[in-house]
Amino acid sequence: MMKKYRYPIFASLAIAPLILTGCGSSASPEASGSADSLTVVDYYNNDPDKGLIGDALDKCAASINVTLDRTVVPGKDLIQKVLQMSSSKTLPDVLMLDNPDLQEIAATGGLAPLSQFDVDTAGFAPGILEAATYENEVYGLAPTVNTLGLFVNPAMLAEAGLEAPKTWDELKSTAAALTSGDRYGIAFSSIATYEGSWQFLPLLWTNGGSEDDLTSPEAAEALALQVDLVNAGSASKSVVNWSQSDVKDQFAAGKAAMMINGPWQIPALSEDPSIEWDTVQIPINKAGQKAVAPLGGEVWTVPQTGNKDKQAKAAQLIECITSDENQLALAEARYTVPTKTALSEQYVALRPEMESFTEQVANARSRTGILGTGWPKAATQIYTGIQLGLTGQATPEDAFSKATAG
């Protein structure tokens, strides 16, 4: 009798492996082996960037005799994808990261320091090296970077008989003068995401404030500028819900005469020749200040895959993609700025419209330079404070102390 009853048990045990194999099928990495192909993950999932980066990668791969297996994921999914890959030990050989995320990922121990592969990091702009450095080791390099500047509509300025503003007072008066009908003087993004914090940084830093001391009077003054612009009606109340691409749409539609935005919007603006634009540096508050903008852009890293040969090839690929020649080519095609400061002059000759951004990059600061992995928390406090101020829930003086209270 007993025997007879066992069969069902065996039958159910027979199902078990089917379920278990579902969990454990990830291949373990080989310690070393053939390095004739590399896997690459990045978030350039839209053309023209997708194609431009892909071509540059392929050329570099051909020069070091490897083939590439490239995966592109949407920007907002990249970190989740990286976390999945690191828990299943399937990190790619070459990984692109947005620069403020690098320290967070480097802190997990998932990336290899570039010094292991003798990659030369001399000549790169200090801001980008700072962003890519965790505990005195450089983990990634960027071929090109970007930053923020002030876009103006020259026709609208000329019509009002005004020049592009250089100080905050001029910014306020110019924005007020350019406001008419359903056109606002200026547009910027103060949305409740890191985008809003990123757009606030040029004002904060230029005024001498810092992300590790948000309750300073300098930070309150920077917020007061945004609040004044909105309260005066020179900027729409909707700035609290606009992403940077919404801001670009407002500017392109002629509903904003100026905007704070980055050079990655230039290809979209250039598509329509009827849109007139020019760029200048972010205005300063008081005489003697220097415009400081945040540094944007993506760095290429070598994850800890355990395969030494492939890691060495991956480092070579990164060296190639950040070479002078590739920096200039990618910067020209993508309206970004080469990361080697020595290339500035040559670049501005190629792309004169990028002059103000190129100057701005020389002084640009990274978001994680001071706080490192503490940046996400500060960024949350920054956008919370901005939102409290712009919606009238707190005065500019109180907004950040309210936001940092927890």
Partner: protein
């Protein structure tokens, strides 16, 4: 679905329990019975049990980006729950979750019921209009919230233009930019998203009510509102309780509508427990804190599931 399952399981063993003396003889049948249950049980264990247990243990750990690479997640006891409950956003998020759920359910249900009763009548294009009603359900929420974002835009949104044109408002309303109004705007959009679900279920329930009841009642002089209160509403009660409980559970966890419209802003006016959980986990990478938030949410859902089960049992007892 998870709410209904425990009920049937709870009832089945009681009804099928073999008499003590006949146990031995029925053993083979018991095995067969267990085998029939096995696939469902394994499925529930793997896809419901495991995530819930994992989520619970995660909420007691310091689970960060580092954990994904090293696999190390130190135990921190209830520290994450302390972080959650002492956060200045917890109270407002809890209240917003309650208001959001209550407002959405009320709006969805009343409008859904009205439309379901309306579509019971025979009129030309009834079928066509009814299938058009499903449209909000078929659209990806992220698409519809992007559309609503432009409809609700303060300056150029069509809603403010319309309200201004018919003279209802003097100044444009800051639907998504005024902290006093944003929650209402988000609720309105969620009502719009939820109406098809309510109409579909309630309309199905209405089809099951025999026409004779209405005919008999009409002879006694009960038509219109009277017929609704004395025939439609009582006959529809089981469907109504399903619609409401599922509605509450679905609405408590709504995330995409809010993320698409306001991302929890302006000035945290539309923060709910679900948004907090998402932002802690996937924006701040504090997975432990995020899972503590979601456990609070699971607890609230569970309370509603229990209320539903008890209400149903009472209905059966009656």
């Amino acid at each position: 679905m998870t709410i209904v399952a425990p009920r049937t399981e709870a009832v089945a063993p009681a009804a099928a329990a073999p008499a003590p003396g006949r146990r031995r003889r029925h053993s083979p049948e018991r095995w067969t019975r267990l085998l029939f249950i096995a696939p469902a049980a394994l499925y529930i264990l793997a896809f419901f049990g495991y995530p819930i247990v994992k989520n619970f243990t995660m909420s007691l750990q310091e689970y960060t980006t580092k954990t994904f690479f090293t696999g190390e997640a130190p135990w921190v006891g209830l520290a994450n729950y302390v972080t959650v409950t002492t956060s200045s956003l917890f109270g407002p998020a809890f209240l917003n979750t309650a208001l959001f759920t209550l407002g959405s359910i009320l709006g969805q249900f009343v409008i859904g019921m009205a439309l379901a009763v309306f579509f019971k009548r025979r009129f030309p294009l009834n079928g066509f209009l009814r299938s058009m009603m499903l449209l909000p359900w078929l659209l990806p929420v992220i698409v519809s919230s992007a559309t609503w974002r432009s409809i609700l835009d303060q300056d150029s949104g069509i809603l403010n233009r319309f309200l201004g044109a018919i003279g209802l408002t003097d100044a444009p309303i800051g639907w998504l930019t005024d902290p006093a109004v944003a929650l209402i705007a988000v609720i309105i959009v969620n009502i719009w998203v939820g109406i098809p679900f309510n109409v579909a279920l309630l309309y199905g329930g209405l089809q099951d009510i025999p026409e004779e009841l209405y005919e008999a009642a009409a002879l006694d002089g009960a038509t219109g509102w009277k017929a609704f209160w004395h025939i439609t509403w009582p006959s529809l009660r089981p469907v109504v309780s399903v619609v409401l409980v599922l509605g509450v559970v679905y609405t408590l966890k709504v995330l995409d509508v809010i993320l698409g419209l306001t991302n929890g802003g302006p000035a945290n006016a539309t923060q709910t427990l679900a948004v907090r959980s998402y932002q802690e986990s996937f924006v701040n990478f504090q997975f432990g804190v995020g899972s503590a938030y979601s456990n609070v949410l699971i607890l609230v859902s569970l309370i509603f599931a229990v209320i539903y089960l008890r209400a149903n049992r009472r209905a059966v007892d009656e």
